[in-house]
């Protein structure tokens, strides 16, 4: 499957705000078809990292390479043109358009038809938009105003939009934040299925450890800006340092003890 060249390679990424080093010397790789989770406590530097990969934030030093092309410091729209889709922690969609139109805009941009002034949008890429909607299980929603959608549906719509330019890499910032537990599992299963079928590399940040350990092939753990561990879910789970950060040192939390203990 892997062609030897990694899909995404990050070398020595650093960023500081004033005196605070938000991200220091982070390096990692991502292969095609691989699902990689970036986790860490609040303030670990996940979002800063993410924004630099996407082009919304410019790193102080380091190199980001997507499919052999350096993207460090490029604008988000240029990164997108290389085949990088992105979803947001807080959804960003066009509330006054219908669900289908939201996807059509992305498709039109992908096909370089933004400066078409005459063709009615209603007839452009309609089939492809509906195919994407079907893919994320929203076939019946095409004509609905996007502003009326429930939050979970907006997240699925964002996934469909992110798939519009046939990406090789998906960046998903807290894809399941704010969703109900069942919706979370469904969305991540769907994402994983699409990623495996189309051999798309996925990098996502997430707070829900159930989601992370069920779906990630590999996990990166960030703490205070530095990468402290990476490996398979089993390796990361067994890592002492990770346990210390997530559970606190000394007292290892064990649910069985607590059940027996008096309230």
């Amino acid at each position: 499957m892997s062609l030897g060249v990694s899909l995404l390679s990050v070398e020595g990424l650093s960023k500081s705000y004033g005196g605070i080093q938000a991200v220091r010397n982070v390096s990692f790789m991502l292969q095609a078809g691989e699902i990689l989770a970036l986790i860490g406590p609040n303030g670990a530097g996940k979002s800063t990292c993410f924004d630099m990969l996407n082009g919304q934030n410019v790193p102080d030093s380091g190199r980001i390479t997507v499919m052999g092309q350096e993207t460090t410091g490029r604008k988000p729209r240029e990164v997108w043109r290389l085949g990088v889709g992105r979803t947001f922690q807080i959804t960003a969609t066009y509330p006054t358009m219908t669900v289908r139109e939201n996807i059509q805009v992305a498709l039109v941009s992908h096909h370089h038809r933004l400066f078409d002034f005459w063709t009615p949008m209603i007839s452009i890429e309609r089939g492809e938009a509906d195919r994407l909607l079907d893919l994320v299980g929203m076939a019946g929603y095409a004509e609905r105003p996007c502003g009326e959608l429930a939050y979970g549906d907006l997240k699925r719509l964002e996934l469909a939009i992110a798939l519009a330019n046939q990406p090789k890499l998906l960046l998903m910032d807290e894809p399941t934040a704010g969703m109900a537990p069942r919706e979370r599992v469904e969305l991540m299963r769907l994402t994983a299925k699409i990623a495996r079928e189309q051999s798309i590399g996925v990098l996502f940040t997430e707070h829900d450890m159930d989601v992370v350990f069920e779906h990630a092939d590999r996990i990166l753990v960030l703490n205070r800006g530095s990468l402290i561990a990476q490996g398979s879910p089993a390796e990361v789970r067994a890592n002492r340092e990770v346990q210390a950060i997530y559970l606190g040192e000394g007292l290892l939390y064990d649910a069985r003890h607590r059940e027996g203990a008096p309230a």
């Binding site: 139109e101 038809r113 209603i122």
Partner: protein, 628 residues
């Protein structure tokens, strides 16, 4: 050398009033997020009230007391305005706030004429500062020296007020996060009211202090508000120090600009503003704009192209309009042509505002440029009418290309202020550059050629062009470009992340809107047979805004209905009353407060509600069947 130094001091003295007004605007904006268009009106009221008081009261105490009492009295008026009007529109979209306060400005303009009469009033000289100081043979009025000292004193006093008092700390806190301040149990209503009172007091004081220097007249509000907008764009909205530095800069540029380019002195200020905007889009001392407050809109009815029935109905309506010459006289046809032209103008602004979310407060600039384009081509180049009509609007396109490139760097209230300032610059060029534009006398004798000369022929021409322009804009609205433009209005973040270069899209839309406005202006020049600087004046820009708003800013055909209703009302009103500005102002305020969806918006939401009931009922019965 001494002459230049005196010129420099004159600039500093002018900066004092400008700073007072600009700092008031900045303070109010910081806390309430309202750009108070009526600030110029309060400045003017301050001058008028101070004039009356200083005429009646005698002695130095009477004069200085009169100035202060005038500013206090106007502040009380400000408080009333805040309680009655502004409290209703704090949560409205920015456009409505700007328009509401503009309506207020129009009302004040007529009210001062009603109370004080239309003539310029020359006030008393200030006791103790009547003479002049001799400086190497040049005279410096001692009152100027007083004003030069006053600026820094007020700056210092404001600094103390904001750093050392409880109220000042609350204001600074509210400027950063007003919801947090409310959550901490501060009475937000009265905080807003008091801030507004202080801002208005500063504006009125600025006006009152001008009476020994300048005559008081009923157009001084617009002049100052444009300068103040330039000052806050350069200095940064919300920064008092920025207001001070920029006020000095702008006043000095004006003082020396007159020496360098006597005819077009505003050019210098414009160039500096352009440079500042390129380097620091949020002003010298301003902070980067927080992401614009999401105004979730008034309705969420997705737009759709016309159905075949609706298309047929539009064609029938157009056919009926085309039959007007068979039933109406010449006067009605001239009115009809004017309305058709204003449909073009309103539709072009509507495209920018409704589709692009960019509320231009200076759209008349491109209308006027189109009109002047025709005048230049016809009078200087002697081109035939068809060529003029086709090429004239290109001047509007060129103006839109230049100004639009700067304007789209900003959004929201900054965009509105900048477009207004640009329009004012274009107007002042037309007004001042007499050799080319004829200045206030305009360019006369632009009559249509024989084939379009009769009222009925001209009416058909205007109607045809109008229908064509409206159809083209509608086509663009539903094209990929139109969607990309709407996308930038709805979510710039989403647009950027799907590869859309939003600024380029907006700039193109600005040029499209400027060109179509220019087409309207070109026809207008032939309709009136002349062009004047007023063809690009602020009041024409506001007419267009009101038409769009009246029709419904969130609808597609709103501009057409807005233009027809408003223009017909306006023509009728002007023939009925001398106080059309007063009535118009009341009308604007009423639209903003009670009727924000506009005519078409109201009709659409009624129809949408009716349509929505049917499918819901069907879905419900289907569900029930499924359950069984």
């Amino acid at each position: 050398m001494a002459f230049y130094f005196v010129q420099f001091l004159t600039g500093l003295a002018s900066a004092a009033s400008l700073f007072l007004v600009a700092s008031g605007l900045s303070i109010i904006f910081g806390v309430t997020r309202i750009v108070n268009f009526a600030h110029g009106a309060f400045y003017m009221l301050g001058a008028y009230v101070a004039f009356s008081l200083t005429e009646r009261l005698s002695g130095p105490l009477g004069f200085w007391g009169g100035i202060v009492v005038a500013a206090l009295a106007v502040a009380v008026i400000g408080v009333l305005v805040e309680i009655v009007l502004l409290r209703r529109i704090y949560h409205a979209p920015e456009l409505f706030q700007l328009l509401g306060t503009f309506g207020l400005t129009l009302m004040v303009e007529d009210l001062v004429v009603l109370i004080w009469g239309p003539d310029d009033l020359v006030g008393r000289r200030a006791p103790g500062f009547k003479g002049a100081v001799d400086f190497f043979g040049q005279n410096i009025p001692s009152y100027d020296l007083f004003l030069i000292a006053l600026g820094p004193i007020v700056l210092g006093a404001l600094w103390l007020l904001f750093q050392r008092t409880r109220w000042g700390i609350l204001v600074r806190a509210a400027t950063q996060d007003r919801d947090m301040v409310a959550a901490l149990g501060v009475n937000q209503k009265w905080l807003f009211t008091s801030v507004f009172a202080v801002g208005v007091f500063l504006a009125a004081l600025g006006g009152a202090l001008q009476i020994p220097r300048d005559a008081v007249h009923h157009a001084m509000d617009l002049r100052i508000i444009v300068e103040v907008f330039v000052v806050v764009v350069i200095g940064g909205l919300g920064s008092i120090l920025g207001a001070f530095v920029a006020a000095v800069l702008v006043s000095e540029l004006n003082a020396f600009g007159i020496l360098i380019f006597p005819t077009i002195s505003l050019i210098l200020v414009f160039l500096v503003m352009a440079v500042v905007l390129v380097v620091r889009p949020w002003g010298l001392f301003g902070r980067k704009e927080a992401p614009a407050r999401r105004t979730p809109g008034l309705t969420v009815i997705p737009w759709r192209p016309l159905s075949s029935v609706e298309r047929l109905a539009s064609l029938v309506a157009l056919a009926f309009a085309a039959m007007l010459p068979f039933v109406a006289g010449n006067y009605a046809l001239t009115v009809g042509s004017e309305i058709a032209i204003f449909v073009i103008f309103a539709a072009s602004l509507h495209f920018l505002m409704a589709v692009g979310g960019l509320a231009s407060f200076g759209h008349a600039a491109y209308f006027g440029l189109g009109a002047y384009g025709v005048a230049f081509l016809a009078k200087m180049a002697g081109l035939p009418m068809i060529a003029c009509l086709l090429l004239g609007p290109l001047l509007g396109a060129a103006g839109a290309a230049v100004f639009g490139a700067f304007a789209v760097q900003l959004s929201g209230v900054y965009f509105a202020m900048l477009t207004l300032a640009f329009a004012q610059i274009v107007w002042s060029i037309a007004f001042q550059w007499v050799a080319v534009t004829g200045g206030d006398n305009g360019i006369l004798g632009l009559w249509p050629e024989k084939w379009a000369a009769s009222p009925s022929h001209f009416y058909w021409l205007a109607l045809g062009v109008s229908a064509f322009v409206v159809s083209v804009l509608r086509l663009i609205t539903f094209s990929p470009f139109g969607y990309a433009l709407r996308g930038m209005r709805d979510s710039p973040l989403r647009s950027e992340s799907i590869g859309i270069n939003g600024k380029r899209i907006q700039w193109t839309a600005f040029i499209i809107a400027g060109t179509t406005a220019g087409i309207g202006g070109a026809l207008f020049a032939y309709l009136k047979g002349s062009v004047f600087p007023d063809n690009m004046g602020i009041s024409l820009s506001v007419d267009a805004l009101v038409m769009v708003l009246l029709g419904g800013v969130e609808t597609v055909p709103g501009a057409i209905f807005g233009a027809i209703v408003y223009k017909a009302l306006n023509i009728w009103l002007v023939s009925q009353t001398d106080w059309s500005k007063l009535v118009l102002g009341i009308f604007i305020v009423l639209i903003v407060v009670v009727f924000p969806k506009g005519i078409v918006g109201v009709v659409e939401s009624i129809m949408h509600r009716r349509r929505a009931v049917a499918p819901k009922a069907a879905a419900l019965s289907a569900k029930m069947e499924g359950a069984q």
